[in-house]
Symmetry: C2
């Protein structure tokens, strides 16, 4: 069970290792949104996404003997890089299980961060069986991407920073929009804000067609997505809300927000132009909701968490092409 | 005369108004450079460059009656935006004098930040005469881009942050590479480091063909550039070192570094890929020197100041095209 004490403890473990990312703004974005827009730039976190926080939190929370045997994760994306770097900085081995058809660059980046990458064939092999075998043979600890209390606590440290930085900017009331896949980041932030800035409320942001959290919050029970691929926002596409995370969001989050892929790309372009930060589509949906769903938000200021920036060049150029010259 | 007391005073005036920008890093950049690379991301400053610091410092240092009459600056670039926003936030008027052939987007952005933009014809009109007339008619205070003690003090606040952030990272010895045009940023940082982190030494970075500061430092006297245009690094092209700034650099800076436009573009692409920040060519020359001139630098770590990110899309796409797929 993750609570504010667990988040504060994670923050103590992360101090000096994770970056305190800045809260950015631009008068040009304020004009578009019709209110102040404050952007928590987690794309500037180590490995280019907030995932390093949860990974560091989980790896650092293991008892030393267990940790020394190494960790394992299933991911082809941001969680893989976060776990790989957190393990390397702790001086322990990491095994990352990826589909053999993952982009070569992601495999190379994860290896370069010190991980042993184990590839499997999606069509013929069982990922979980491979993971179970490796974990039991080598005594590796599995670091799940969101349904892990220590991971949620680590992501929640983002919320502690948001609470403090928003207060410095004079903002104590309003919505905090958070890009949402499995809900680790949004539930962690929700717990932190509930304790440290109760006037700030989390709202999840998701891409159209993959809005399982918004629909689940509306339905009052977990609802699955119909598809598992087909969004540019691949980093935040999950089948359904997490088992640990959804009850937290049910208790603390407002209604979910949903944007189109094109709106996410447009938000990426504006973040490039006005904030000088690089976002991936899944990392831009919260900003997109702030800019393009003003009627669904109340208050004089809105905070959005820009959760990651690991994007390939063709997709980024597609985003920039949306800017008027 | 700018000294550490003036920089500390500027820092007090800037507190809560300028951003404390983060010191970023990536193991991928360390591998390229062969040493730790720490990047001070001033592109994340208000208006997308360090210029806001100097502008705020100068505007806030005016006595209130003088300030109330407004300020004036000559610039088509980053200094214009810095002065416009600093004036607006102080509730006073700003007049920015720009050539009529400046890019429409820069004119629009400067106006959007609240400035009155006065255009002149480079071929037939005398910029200084227009400025003198407006200043005397309306009692405006001229804010020069670098040869102004309060501007240098404001840019020097970057150096105070570098000293503190480098110490947090365990770095107390080494070179601090600074993108250099007129020398306001590099001389301000040099003064701050001399007082607060004497093991850190400023090295200017400039584009090939516009390396007046490197050649002036080598010659022991100010030397002019042969041309005033023809570099992609337009933000840092100046005819010669500043009258106030050059003596400071002569006293405190090491030999100047020089990179090609293509190296600056390559550094922009790597900053996009590995740090998730947006740089303009003139804001990337220090990082380019850190990455591509390793033999000219000594020590286990190098710090570079990424000074600005106001870049047009075609130039940015030219940079991204240099990345291997």
């Amino acid at each position: 069970m993750t609570d504010i004490a667990a988040i504060e403890a994670a923050a103590a473990r992360l101090a000096g290792h994770a970056r305190v990312t800045p809260l950015l703004s631009s008068p040009f974005l304020d004009d578009i949104a019709g209110r102040r827009v404050l952007v928590k730039a987690e794309c500037l976190q180590h490995t280019g996404s907030f995932k390093f926080r949860g990974a560091w939190s989980a790896v650092s929370a293991l008892d030393p003997d267990t940790r020394a045997r190494g960790v394992i994760a299933f991911s082809s994306g941001n969680h893989a890089q976060g776990v790989a770097l957190a393990a390397r900085l702790h001086g322990v081995a990491s095994v990352i299980i990826m589909p053999a058809d993952a982009p070569a660059l992601k495999i190379a980046n994860t290896r370069a961060l010190g991980a042993e990458v184990v590839l499997y064939d999606r069509a013929t092999e069982d990922r979980d069986a491979i993971g179970d075998r490796l974990a039991s043979e080598r005594g590796l600890s599995l670091i799940k991407p969101f349904d892990n209390a220590m991971v949620i606590a680590g992501q929640g440290t983002t919320g502690l920073e948001v609470a403090a930085q928003a207060a410095e900017q004079g903002v104590s009331q309003g919505d905090v929009l958070v890009c949402c896949g499995g809900g680790g980041l949004s539930s962690g932030i929700a717990l932190a804000l509930d304790a440290r800035a109760p006037g700030l409320r989390v709202r999840t942001a998701e891409p159209e067609g993959f809005d399982d959290t918004a629909r689940s919050l509306a339905a009052g029970r977990p609802v699955r997505n119909a598809a598992m691929s087909g969004s540019l926002c691949d980093a935040i596409v999950t089948p359904e809300p997490g088992k640990l995370t959804f009850p937290i969001l049910q208790r603390l989050a407002g209604p979910g927000l949903v944007v189109s892929d094109t709106e996410a790309l447009h938000a990426m372009a504006l973040a490039w132009q006005r904030l000088k930060i690089v976002l991936e589509p899944g990392g831009a949906v919260a900003l997109a909701a702030a800019l393009f769903r003003p009627d669904k938000i109340s208050g004089d200021a809105v905070i959005c968490v820009a959760s990651g920036g690991n994007v390939d060049r063709p997709v980024f150029e597609q985003a920039l092409a949306l800017l008027a010259e």
